[in-house]
Amino acid sequence: MALLRPCPSIPSAPLPLPSSYPNSRNSIFLVRRFPSLVQSSHCRRSLFLPKATAAIDSQATASTVNGQDGLPKLLLEVKDLRAVVAESKQEILKGVNLVVYEGEVHAIMGKNGSGKSTFSKVLVGHPDYEVTSGSIVFKGENLLDMEPEERSLAGLFMSFQSPVEIPGVSNIDFLNMAYNARRRKLGLPELGPIEFYGYIAPKLDLVNMKIDFLNRNVNEGFSGGERKRNEILQLAVLGAELALLDEIDSGLDVDALRDVAKSVNGLLTPKNSVLMITHYLRLLEFIRPTYIHIMDDGKIVRTGDISIAKVLEKEGYKAISAM
């Protein structure tokens, strides 16, 4: 497969790249420019974004970060991110580097306690964690300067691993509030309950849910599968340029998983990206990632394609650290 993007004069460097590397892009950047650095060739975007791929392949000019010339834009750039638990000051993230371009699907895998969920929570500004150093740039803006709701309005969406119950607030009211917050941000008139109902009713098909789902209180008494579907429904209603799916597959049976994966795939466009956190290959067979990252002890220690997940599934994390 051809180089997706011509590379400026970057010497080939071993992975992972030291964080002090002068170039503004990190290891991922290098990986995709030097496919030979990963164990097997990856078929980037061939499943989801044939058009985008074609456009890129035909480009022979130098790449730009801002995506002029029809190239995919840089969406998220995390550099040497360190974060501690706010209360205990225990360090969880110990220098995470990650770059996501629009249209890409990334997956993060790793042992329990390696920092995967913390990473996604830090991205959306969860108050339980404090960032001690490093930077996160999302769509050219410093994410760390933004409140959680501003991050959401900027196009970042996280599906919670275990979404909280909110008794007394109906699902439709909750979605309506969230949707109107977005409309306000865009300078559009807010939708009243009736108009909103008209907007949302068709979206329910996406997640295969009945209409009475809307009148129930947010996550109250929802089964594991219903909670996950509800998260995806929210994603469908609110839209997002980068969706962080934190263990969207946990607690789901195969049918429910297929439904959820189908709706996620249905939401993917060449413009938006997904970062999923999972333990299992199964999800990755439904939502095909461009890159798989292995996280260990608060860092991304390895990046590759689906084959890495296959090795993992067969031989466990030992095999990965031995690679």
């Binding site: 108050p127 409140e147 709701e149 959401s152 909110i166 007394g168 609110l238």
Partner: protein
């Protein structure tokens, strides 16, 4: 589950993410030595003033009312005005009343403005103005045959008069109950005969029109009194709504409602207290439940400077069902107090109590004393009680004392108490979906009370209450 004679209350208190609110856990009930039967000059004077104001009323000579006044006068002789040293008033300051010049209202003054406000429900309604039943404002057509609603003086059926006379002495209460008995200008009776079901709720609307301006010593008092009798197999829905005509006026509403539910009868009771924010509101609700009867109460109290609800439910037969849901909101410098007592003396009673309160003002206070007594013969009782309080401002105070007294040994009883600020996880969930913190706080605060509001049976009422609560929690629209 438990068979101890007394269980003390449990507290779960999550620390506030903002400034820590003041939480005063209360110890167990103390047994106080009985008071010497000495007359309190203030109480006697008050009783006299009330009696004098009624000398002209004609229905007073009727046997049931006479009986009531006799019992009440007698008990008043040995009662003194409550102080903070008396357990039932330990956290509730009644000096607002004591330090005023209490003036009974002798003549109702139906304000024409009132009529407009009254057009909002289509239910049969009974209107009280300053404690007096006003027939011209009431609307009582379409009631089933045999149902009587009105002043005791209007009862033509001797059997009903007899039944009422029989019931009146069955109840008792505290000082305020007796003061009402002495000062009530009338006894309003709602009588539902055996097997009769009253469709659509009966709306009792208590309007307070007379009131003094803030700073004046004068405190006009009204003493409405209602007796509800639902005979065997009868069913009734009632809405009691207390409203102040002027949000700034000072007055004292001292009302008593007594309810008798016959075998297999059902009463669904909605109680909305929306008095002036400077008013004193003292309310008694006493219920007697015969075998297999059901009583359901949903209360929303938001008004009054001092609001106290005494709720007593006595089981007089087995297999009763009791469901109490109450929501108190202190959005201003006010006290909301619920003292509830549920006495179970017979087997297989089922009860559920949910009390929720929000204190959203630094000078606001909420008080809850919830007593459930499971006596010796009340085997296989299933009683549950839960109280949750939300303190939203520094120095906002809540005093809760859930208490179960269990003597029977084969029962299932539970109780719980939680006092907290809003849940951080829930707030973050809103934020993560793009909703700002302030909007999220409002939504969550409102939803806290919504659990109780949703239990109101009637959609129009539910909608009105919701709008009212929203307004109180967020006085600046937008």
């Amino acid at each position: 589950m438990a068979s101890s004679a007394f269980t003390s209350s449990t507290f779960q208190s999550t620390p506030s993410i903002f400034s820590p609110p003041k939480i005063k856990p209360t110890p167990r009930l103390r047994v106080r030595p009985p008071k010497a039967a000495l007359s309190d000059p203030f109480v006697l004077q008050l009783a006299e003033t009330l009696e004098d104001s009624l000398s002209s009323s004609s229905s007073l000579s009727l046997p049931p009312l006479q009986k009531l006044r006799e019992i009440s006068s007698e008990t008043l002789l040995s009662l003194s005005w409550p102080s903070r040293k008396d357990e039932p008033f330990r956290f509730t300051d009644t000096s607002l009343i004591k330090h005023s010049q209490v003036q009974p209202i002798s003549n109702p003054n139906p304000n024409p403005d009132l009529l407009e406000v009254l057009e909002d429900t289509h239910f049969p309604k009974l209107v009280f103005v300053d404690g007096f039943l006003v027939n011209s404002l009431s609307q009582l057509s379409n009631l089933p045959n045999g149902v009587f609603v009105g002043s005791v003086s209007g009862i033509t059926d001797e059997r009903i008069v007899e039944r009422v006379s029989e019931i009146v002495p069955m109840f008792n209460g505290d000082l305020f109950w007796s003061l009402n008995g002495v000062g009530a200008p009338d006894l309003v009776v709602v009588y539902v005969p055996e097997g009769c079901s009253v469709e659509g709720p009966l709306h009792l609307r208590y309007c307070s029109v007379e009131g003094s301006d803030d700073g004046s010593e004068r405190l006009p008092v009204s003493n409405p009194r209602v007796l509800v009798v639902v005979e065997k197999g009868g069913e009734l829905g009632i809405i009691e709504e207390f409203v102040g005509n002027d949000r700034e006026k000072c007055y004292w509403s001292n009302s008593v409602t007594e309810i008798v539910i016959g075998e297999g009868g059902k009463v669904c009771h909605s109680y909305i207290q929306n008095q002036s924010l400077r008013a004193a509101h003292i309310k008694w609700t006493s219920v007697q439940q015969e075998s297999s009867s059901a009583y359901e109460l949903t209360e929303i109290s938001t008004g009054g400077k001092l609001s106290r609800h005494n709720l007593h439910i006595q089981q007089v037969g087995p297999d009763t069902e009791t469901e109490l849901s109450t929501f108190h909101l202190s959005a201003g410098d006010q006290t909301q107090d619920l003292h509830s007592k549920l006495v179970l003396d017979h087997p297989r009673g089922y009860s559920r109590q949910l009390h929720k309160c929000i204190v959203a003002h630094s000078l606001g206070q909420a008080v809850f004393d919830g007593n459930v007594k499971v006596n010796r013969f009340a085997q296989q009782t299933d009683a549950g009680q839960l109280t949750r309080s939300l303190l939203l401002e520094p120095r906002a105070t809540v005093n809760v004392k859930p208490n179960l007294q269990i003597i029977a040994d084969d029962v299932k009883c539970s109780h719980g108490a939680a006092i907290s600020d809003l849940e951080e996880d829930q707030l973050f969930y809103f934020q993560a979906r793009g909703v700002d913190l302030e909007t999220a706080r409002k939504a969550l605060t409102f939803s806290f009370g919504a659990e109780v509001i949703e239990r109101l049976r009637y959609p129009t009422l539910r909608k009105n209450v919701k709008n009212h609560i929203k307004q109180l929690l967020d006085p600046t629209p937008g």
